[in-house]
């Protein structure tokens, strides 16, 4: 073989080439990829040191990195390359960031503060632009500036308009790390998003004025300027709303093409941006409102997986855009050919923007506080003034200026670069200490509790009602009206029927809290089994829950409490989850999830049927088993499976019920019979949970644990329960299988659910520990509701298989239903007993406890979220 590359060249196309150097073809995308890679790698490096990133905002580091890289490029290429091009910025880099912030905007908070936000965005920006522009002009007239700065009033106003707008990217980047309280954050951030309209309009108007030349401006042009402001901002918003509507409508029908659901979200939002840009409306407003408004419906329509995809993709895009923006800002600053320095202009601008921002904030807050019910105090005002960061938008706008028309462009570029660097680096660095020093109310990242949600919901209604009664049509009144309208028409139109039916905020929170609890248990390793934890599993988990998972969930819930728009928290420890999952799988699970069963590949479908199939199989197995039990032990007491799915059905949650049996343990020798107090633990599945932990969850959907209490001997008849709803059956437990004797773990599989013996009051089986370990850990890892602790309380008489049992039982004792009791003896006893061997005496000790427990029991709800311990009680 000849070395192919060198000789042929372009002149000899005849011979087949083995390799060809095609740099030209791939140059552009390759460079883009390379830059993104560099920026991302830099991010990794920054975060290697926690110390640095906790002090220095990432945006600063990126800018500095950009400066460094720019210097290298300049040194190597002898000319500045790879700069932040306005076109690239506005068409590709900005939209993801704005979409991300709009989509994940805590909308409730946003609209609660919309008045203040609008004021600051519109009045504040106008004030800043005019004040800064005129003041600089004054400075110029006073002869303090370099004579090279050829600029009139209009030029300065133009410059003022582009330099005065607070930049969403910069604000976001810095404020996210600061964690100020949510009101403050939403005001600063909302302002930075919405002031875009003002900036763009002012910029365009002044630009056209400058181009016309001051002589040719007529009075009508001013009027046009004002009119175009309304047109641009309202038009942009309208475009956003229109696309939000379209998007929501489209996602309603994507049921069969789940795989491209996320695509629609991005596409339509982007098209909204482009459409607005095309007709020179405010594109930022369009995307922002598209994001804010579509979210509710889109999230309800698309599948959980798509939701996650949307979230992560959006975060990834936004984060990389931001990274690139800041880095390129640094790189662009190196290009000295583009800017000319003038000390007076630079210092003057810096001084004026700080001053006027502060003055503007104070004045506006003064006015606003007369209307606001929660006034913004002095500290808030300081942070707001200081938080007015300028960023890439200003830079891109100044680059866009036409040098022919705006003669002082080079000066303006230099000033803008300095201002951006100053605000991002100096203010960004100091704002954190400032916030700490001023003791600004931080956002308490507390998890939303169910109670809170309930109360807030109640609040909304109460306040609306009071407004009705007072006859004052205020904010609550209109919100109430809007919600009614939304419920009646919009949601009907834009949401899938299945989604709409279950759409309820309280329910959502409840649902999410359950998952959160579940996750927190997994986080803790899934095997927390102390008596304490069992007694109140949700309590310790709440307190010790790791931050990451809290924020993670908050984020998923889109709750207003989490304001970090960019942060996606790391997923909880995967190993733990796997451990837990394996735990279930290995320990006596009846069903082995066949993860790799389906080997087929489909580009269009993510084998959604796998789960269903498993569901079915498990269901079938269960049914069969239960039937067998019923047959073989005619008067046997069977654990009943409560019909737990009621509302989950619609949600398409798949409940798989597994009947897991407690291992029978070492009792096989001397204890030929196993008496069972069936402990039925029914956990409803959480689709989200299973979704979020991709693979290992299939088998965890919903499990019925039946732990059997053992006893030495069983004798015939028992009556169960005291207030019998059901006939007291007598039990003749089948003898354990051989396998069971020898291989206690294996035996369970073949075994049937329930044996109830006369002696069942001694609840605790020999091997309860294992049973408990198993059931609790798996339970907890799945869907432990806040209320798991009551599990031991939901004790019922065992009765023959009755699907409707829960209801009947609860009807039987309505009075007791209103009190709670959280005894932990079941668990404690379980442990203590299991530690020792299955001895009668020990079990006897427990008897008194059992008696008392009967008092406090609570009827199990038909909900599957509760553990139900079906335990035969001794009469």
């Amino acid at each position: 073989m000849h070395p192919p590359a060198a000789s042929p060249g372009p002149a000899a196309p005849a011979g087949a080439e083995l390799l060809r150097w095609q740099w030209r073809e791939v140059q552009a995308p390759c460079l883009v990829a390379a830059w993104i890679l560099v920026a991302s790698l830099a991010k990794i490096v920054f975060h290697l040191s926690r110390k640095v990133t906790s002090v220095v905002p990432e945006s600063c580091l990126l800018i500095l990195l950009g400066l460094g890289l720019g210097g290298i490029v300049l040194a190597v290429a002898k000319k500045a390359e790879y700069q932040l091009e306005p076109n690239m910025f506005f068409l590709f880099l900005l939209p993801p960031i704005v979409l991300d912030s709009g989509y994940f905007m805590p909308s409730r908070l946003f609209f609660d503060n919309i008045g203040a936000i609008l004021t600051y965005a519109v009045v504040g920006t106008l004030w800043n632009s005019f004040a800064t522009g005129t003041a600089l002009w004054g400075l110029h007239r006073a002869g303090l500036m370099d004579p090279g700065v050829e600029a009139g009033l209009m030029d300065f106003l133009l410059f003022g308009s582009l330099i005065s707008a607070v930049d969403p990217v910069a604000v976001l980047a810095v404020f996210e790390e600061v964690h100020v309280n949510e009101t403050l954050f939403i005001i600063v951030f909302g302002e930075s998003l919405l002031n875009d309209a003002v900036t763009v309009v002012l910029y365009k108007v002044f630009n056209s004025f400058v181009e016309l030349g001051p002589a040719h401006i007529h009075a009508t042009d001013y009027v046009k300027g004002v009119a175009s402001f309304f047109l641009v901002s309202l038009g942009g918003t309208a475009v956003g709303l229109l696309f939000a509507f379209l998007l929501a409508l489209i996602t309603r029908f994507t049921k069969r093409v789940r795989i491209i659901e996320p695509l629609f979200v991005f596409l339509l939002a982007y098209v909204a941006y482009l459409a607005a840009e095309m007709v020179s409306l405010s594109a930022i407003l369009a995307v922002t409102f598209c994001g804010i408004c579509c979210k509710k419906y889109v999230e309800a329509n698309i599948s959980q997986k798509s939701r996650t995809t949307v979230k992560y993709t959006m975060k990834t895009l936004a984060s990389s855009s931001e990274t690139i923006i800041f880095m390129f800002l640094g790189i662009s600053a190196v290009d000295t050919s583009k800017w000319t320095w003038d000390t007076a202009l630079v210092l003057g601008t810096l001084f004026f923007i700080l001053l006027f921002r502060a003055v503007g904030v104070v004045l506006q807050t003064y006015v606003l506080n007369r209307f606001r019910l929660i006034p913004l105090d002095r500290i808030d005002q300081v942070v707001m003034s200081y938080g007015g960061l300028r960023g890439a938008v200003a830079f891109a706008l100044v680059i866009l200026l036409d040098r022919e028309k705006v003669k002082a462009k080079d000066y303006f570029v230099a000033t803008t670069i300095v201002v951006v660097f100053f605000t991002v680096i100096v203010q960004g660095l100091t704002i954190k200490p400032l916030v700490t020093w001023l003791k600004v109310k931080r956002s308490d990242h507390h998890k939303p509790t169910l109670n809170e949600e309930l109360h807030e919901h109640a609040f909304d209604h109460i306040l609306a009602a009071v407004e009705d009664i007072v006859g004052h049509h205020g904010y609550h009144y209109w919100r109430d009206k809007w919600e009614q309208f939304d419920k009646k028409y919009l949601s009907q139109l834009l949401m899938r029927k299945s989604a709409y039916r279950l759409r309820d905020e309280i329910w959502d929170v409840y649902y999410k809290l359950n998952i959160r609890d579940a996750i927190s248990f997994v986080d803790q390793g899934g095997h927390v089994l102390s008596a304490a934890k069992l007694a109140l599993p949700s309590m310790p988990s709440r307190t010790s829950m790791s931050e990451s998972s809290v924020t993670n969930l908050l984020r998923e819930s889109g709750s207003g409490a989490c304001l970090d728009l960019q942060v996606i928290d790391t997923v909880r420890s995967r190993r733990d989850k796997e451990d837990a999952a394996m735990h279930h799988v290995l320990r006596g699970s009846l069903y082995k999830p066949r993860r790799r069963y389906k080997a087929s590949y489909s580009r269009h479908f993510i084998s959604p049927d796998k789960q269903e199939r498993q569901d079915k199989e498990i269901f079938r197995q269960n049914m069969k088993r239960r039937l067998e039990t019923f047959k073989s032990t005619k008067h046997n007491v069977c654990s009943s499976k409560s019909k737990a799915r009621l509302k989950e059905k619609g949600r398409k949650k798949k409940n798989i019920s597994l009947t897991k049996e407690a291992p029978n343990g070492k009792t096989h020798r001397n204890v030929p019979w196993q008496d069972a107090a069936p402990v039925l633990v029914m956990v409803s599945s959480e689709e989200e949970e299973s979704d979020s932990s991709e693979t290992e969850k299939e088998d965890d959907e919903g499990i019925v644990f039946v732990a059997r209490a053992t006893d030495e001997v069983l004798q015939g008849k028992t009556t169960h329960g005291s207030l019998d709803v059901c006939p007291s059956p007598c039990i003749i437990p089948p003898s354990p299988t051989l396998a069971e004797k020898e291989l206690p773990w294996k035996g369970d599989q073949a075994d049937l659910a329930v044996y109830v013996s006369s002696e069942t009051t001694k609840i605790v089986p020999v091997d309860m520990q294992k049973a408990w370990n198993q059931s609790i850990s798996s339970l907890e890892s799945i869907a432990s509701p806040p209320g798991i602790e009551s599990g031991s309380q939901h004790r019922r008489f065992a009765c023959p298989v009755l699907e409707e049992q829960p209801q009947s039982a609860s009807q039987a004792m309505p009075e007791q239903s209103s009190c709670f009791q959280f005894p932990s003896h079941a668990s404690k006893s379980g442990r203590s007993q299991s530690d020792s061997s299955p001895d009668g005496p020990e079990q006897q000790e427990l008897q008194p406890l059992m008696a008392t427990e009967e008092q406090g029991r609570m009827p199990p709800t038909a909900e599957a979220r509760w553990m139900m311990f079906n335990r035969a009680s001794h009469l």
């Binding site: 019910l373 009071v466 509701p785 005894p823």
Partner: protein, 214 residues
């Protein structure tokens, strides 16, 4: 109260007691007369005439609260048949926004009062405890706006909330401990960290915002 109302002294007294400005009182009084159809007192039926209230899922509870003697700062317990303007103002004063010049102590009292009002709304049998049953009722009512959510889910939500309350308020429970219901102290505990004073308020504004009669 009608004619007496015009006497400035009485007005001032009312203003002192409820914290409203005399202007606000006047407007509220106008509204009161509207609702009561120029009677001196309002009865429950009068609230039926407010059309917007109809869609409120917890409307019953709210109207009830107006007649709850505990909220009326009266010694006695139980339900009032009718309330006069002063009572009306008293109830309304629970919804006043905080004022800038309040000190810590006042703020705390203010907060407690608001919470008390809320608590009374939940505690329908006046035993000082929100029992599970009471909580369930509230949740059911809250969710009654959504016809697709079954009672069962409301119930389980209430159960979950109660459980959460228990874990917040009592912490680790002894084995035989029974959590009977949320007492007011527990209620306060649950609300720690939530600025109710920034949430539970209505703007009582002036002339033009007072709605037109129905």
């Amino acid at each position: 109260m009608g004619s007496a109302h015009s006497v400035p002294a009485e007005m001032r007294e009312l203003a002192d007691r409820t914290g409203f400005t005399s202007e606000q009182i006047e407007h509220l009084h106008r509204r009161f007369k509207q609702l009561s159809q120029d009677q001196l007192t309002i009865r429950k039926e009068n609230f039926d005439s407010i059309p917007d209230l109809e869609f409120n899922p917890i409307r019953g509870k709210i109207v009830h609260a107006f007649f709850d003697k505990r909220n009326l700062r009266q010694e006695s317990d139980g339900l009032a048949e009718e309330i006069n303007f002063e009572d009306f103002l008293t109830i309304m004063s629970y919804f006043r926004p905080i004022e800038m010049n309040m000190d810590e102590e006042q703020l705390d009292r203010f907060r407690k009062e608001k919470l008390k009002f809320l608590f009374h709304m939940y505690d329908s049998d006046h035993d000082g405890k929100i029992t599970l049953q009471e909580y369930r009722n509230v949740v059911e009512e809250l969710l009654s706006g959504n016809p697709h959510l079954e009672k069962e889910s409301a119930r389980s939500i209430a159960d979950g909330a109660m459980m959460e309350a228990a874990s917040i308020c009592v912490g680790q429970m002894g084995p035989d401990q029974v959590y009977e219901g949320i007492t007011f102290e527990d209620f306060l505990k649950m609300w720690q960290g939530i600025d109710i004073e920034t949430k539970m308020h209505v703007r009582f504004l002036n002339v033009d915002t007072i709605a037109h009669c129905y």
